[in-house]
Symmetry: D2
Subunit: 348 residues, 4 copies
């Protein structure tokens, strides 16, 4: 198998015209599309309906193209839409497609696998049952795609919030998903986990998790991006953990590892190889960045989630020279406290 | 004469405790303070009262320390407070002080001069009379401090808006101030100017202007920062124009010119030499950055001024590894359209 | 013919379940639906995508129910969705349906007619050609439904903005639509109109207009609600102009005219008769309400449109004891400056 | 003793010119000013510095007029400044002054008393020790002004938050203050109170409390407004509890009890008698108003506190025909859940 991916700008949340053009031109086949990750221009909060609008447009499109029902579309593919294109972020989608490939590869290439947990009971959320079941599924997906856990660079999850219970808020669900990713990839020692560490012991974290939580969802959807010797194509993925929101050296080191040394900013050739950049950010809850006070958490006019997306996307875009950056927020146990994570898919 | 400057974090808009400590310790003498430039944590808009609050605190402080009235404080010193500490920006003030210095310098050093225009009639605002009188004053200040116009790197101006007239809005006043700076420094050919180019011909701009406009102010206050062979101390200033909000290479080149080559990010030694970083930003009015759509101008929840300050301050902070960055917005004829300007004061 | 109308709460912008239930129960027939007016919970601004999301849901629903294409749905019915459910406003839709009715009426009853102008050239927008053509169409619709111009109480219009020209902004298009309504209903003397009065002479206004403007729309869509002796059913409409945002006495007088005298607040029986309440609001551009300063126009964190909708909807809801109130903003030449308009449909 | 009070509009948060004019004219004597309650045009949140700006202006004014230090000003008088002038609310202050009065009154008149609790330990906040000590002080102030607890109509409190502890957040401090007011006035049976009911049993509430909480304040400041036969002057106070945000009938009944029957809206004569209107509001946490959904709690762009102030102030202003209304938010145990409280001071 091989993965291809294409980064498509959108003119508004319901814009699928770019995707349609690729279908028309034969560049992309609708039946091979596995997953779409994208940023829509809402506020990323509870009243952000841009994700629903985009979903309706995707359901219409694939329902029409594939002759299946809208429900079948969402069962067949993974959609991960994140609201909030603050600052320079350009609304865009990254479309992953999977196709057979007989060519043997000398290098590990991007592999993509999906799975989902069993349904969770409300009282399991944010506790060990959610962590263990999610870790089990992630490990299984890693196995399915013949990847080494150390080659996993992004575990995108839409976490369950089956119903209201004491712990069933979004924060705890995301935290448990992230801890599960850490266990599955070997970043976290499972022996250190218990109900008590969730949203408390911030020294435990995954640097490859990217978790959201969706009220009403009863099971967690999992997508794993890794490099694998069993997969073909010309894409590879790598990632880094940021120590804080200004950790440019880590981003430079990430690109250097991928054979793209940064001289101030990616050059045109390097930029052309970029397929997708996926990050998680959080305004440092301690109220400072590098010892100096920030005001993101005490501004009652603008949410800290909007600020933190705006800051990290600007920092990353400054390195890339490109604004098609996916940054989402709320990053419990995603990288070190006040830091974040960045994963990059490039064409070799 | 020599200039000293110190960058002081503030805990809230009325916080002068850092300044008081420097007075107490003898590190700074209140009677030598010439100018304070700072960022306060408001929205930077019409209902941003943090600047007034900070002004009251400064007036109280200097009035008490110098035994003069609050009005005399504002006549004696220049205060340039800009609201809006979006994202990682840490509220801070840069305090400039001037003192006699007999030591001859082998290198040009930071020089600071202040002046003000005559009072403007409302109908002069945004037109040639404002431009010509402002340029005359800037040139005089440059002469006063024995600087070469080509060594001017920042012309901070608080522009007049004497009363309402057709053109007397803030946009036109700032534009005229910026064009005046361009004429005075030789960046703009005076022969190309007319009433018609103001806020229309964006190919005409200054890269050293930093202009605000204040309704009710009848004359424009001017502060010039330049390097001059006649001044002592250990500070120097330089600046660059940004081609767009992601123009990291220009910032790197600026530091390289100052003998501080950037390897990804300033290192600790380089960072310790930073005294003040002053920038102007604007969300590109054409709606794109490097060919990709941005949504800063179509978001009716958050002002584009807040976004553009957040973006440029993040980009600059990413280079510096420091969040005490002064970025203000509304940048008509300040650098190329969609770009911006950055001036940096460092200790040699 | 007769009109029926029903006020349906929505759980989110794409919620058509209430409408579906009425179809299922036979209370409403999809083929009889003529028009849907509703409030969605967005910001009402340029980046409010809740209206698009609702439109997609309506198109899906009627397309499926009536076996026609989404485009045919929008050609067959009028949809007037307004974003912004500030404060107590409850998101809701008012669905109007038209059906044959042989019963002769002794009283005038609610009549509904729709029409549209020819396509406008960009340079016609905000000028006499737009006004005259729109007035012509409104008069024709009034004739079509056999109504007296003095019995017209609401002219809901979605105005053309074919493309960018000097005057083709939304403000001028809405203004021209409102002036056209005033001419068609006899509120404005056509002899007083010229290009120059548009957005300038605020003494000229209609009290029955409710106009929006939609960039990209080349013709103006018109819906007229009036009372007519030729129509049946049990609905009637009336309206009032508010002198300012606190003009409760005018709202009381309106209900009294409809046989519903208000003792502080509508009682339960009166409230049950309410079908729809449609208002236009504007924060007084002079900066005061009843001689006292308001801050709606100088708040750079929250738009005056959101404030003015919140205020007027609260005032109206206070009279009604009901929160299903439709208030939209930007009210050029809609009632006196700083005032507004209110139209009410009740069941007799 | 007698109380006088005057309602003064302000042009900006630091505007004391209206107060100065009253001092100049002899209408008011600075040494008789006891208390100032006012609304400033900030966001009412953590980064609302308009209250600090106003305080600085008041401290300057009284310090200068009375020849005392700023600290003595704040120890001598009570200042209760609330940020947030959403919608039609006009920024204003109500200045209370106390002076000797030998004239015996036949009717009870407005009495004002102030006091403060002992210092609280952090662990006492939100628990019985805070409630009991606060209730003791309120009762003592009521006794001091010779009022019957049933004649108390407003207990304005600035509550202690000495430092961070598990319960020492603002919510619990306000709640304890409100419960204390309920005990002191006899509205709440003290036997029903325990640590467990705080912020949990919403059936327990006071209808006269108006509590804020201020981090860093170690003791709670208390001001009681009541009617008393021992006091002179021509002011009286009364209050009502609102069942919900649209409870206009209760406001009408309140005015009727004060001899001011409302016919739709107060008439000019009635309006001239108004001195101050003080309310507490809260967006109904159950998400509905009168059975219909509201969106104040799910809007991530605008805080529910701003919406609820905007709504209730509009409703009250609609009854008054006046926009100098004081509404503050966060109303734990202040009136029934989803309701609010309104106190009115009028001139007889």
């Amino acid at each position: 198998m091989k993965i291809d991916a294409v980064n498509i700008p959108t003119a508004h949340p319901a814009d699928v015209s770019g995707l349609e053009r690729l279908f028309e031109s034969g560049r992309l086949r609708p039946e091979e599309v596995t997953c779409i990750i994208g940023k829509t221009e809402g506020n990323g909060g509870r009243n952000d309906f841009t994700r629903d609008l985009a979903m309706k447009a995707f359901e219409d499109l694939f329902s029409r193209r594939l002759g299946i029902s809208p429900r079948e579309v969402t069962e067949r593919m993974i959609f991960s839409l994140s609201g909030g294109c603050e600052g320079v972020v350009s609304p865009h989608i990254v479309v992953f497609s999977t196709s057979p490939d007989g060519t043997p590869q000398s290098e590990k290439r991007l592999a993509l696998g999906i799975g989902h947990t069993r349904e969770f009971a409300p009282e399991e959320i944010g506790r060990m049952p959610q962590i263990e079941e999610t870790a089990r599924v992630i490990r299984k997906v890693i196995d399915d795609i013949h990847a080494d856990p150390r080659d996993v660079h992004l575990v995108q999850m839409k976490g369950a919030i089956p119903a209201f219970t004491a712990r069933s808020n979004m924060e705890y669900s995301r935290a448990a998903s992230a801890l599960a990713a850490g266990v599955a990839t070997g970043e976290i020692d499972a022996a250190k986990l218990s109900d008590d560490v969730v949203c408390r012991d911030w020294s435990l974290y995954s640097t490859v998790a990217s978790c959201s939580a969706k009220p009403g969802l009863t099971r967690t959807e999992v997508m794993v991006l890794a490099n694998s010797a069993s997969w073909g194509g010309d894409l590879v993925i790598d990632h880094t953990a940021l120590r804080d929101m200004l950790d440019v050296p880590s981003i430079h080191a990430l690109f250097a590892r991928m054979g793209m040394p940064v001289n101030g900013q990616l050059d045109d050739d390097q930029r052309r190889r970029l397929v997708g950049v996926f990050a998680k950010s959080e305004a440092d809850p301690r109220g400072t960045v590098r010892g100096k006070r920030h005001t993101m958490l005490t501004d009652d006019d603008i949410s800290d989630t909007r600020y933190s997306r705006c800051v990290l996307s600007s920092v990353i875009a400054a390195v890339l020279g490109d604004t098609a950056v996916y940054v989402s927020t709320r990053a419990e146990h995603h990288g070190p406290l006040g830091g974040g994570t960045v994963a990059v898919v490039v064409r070799m």
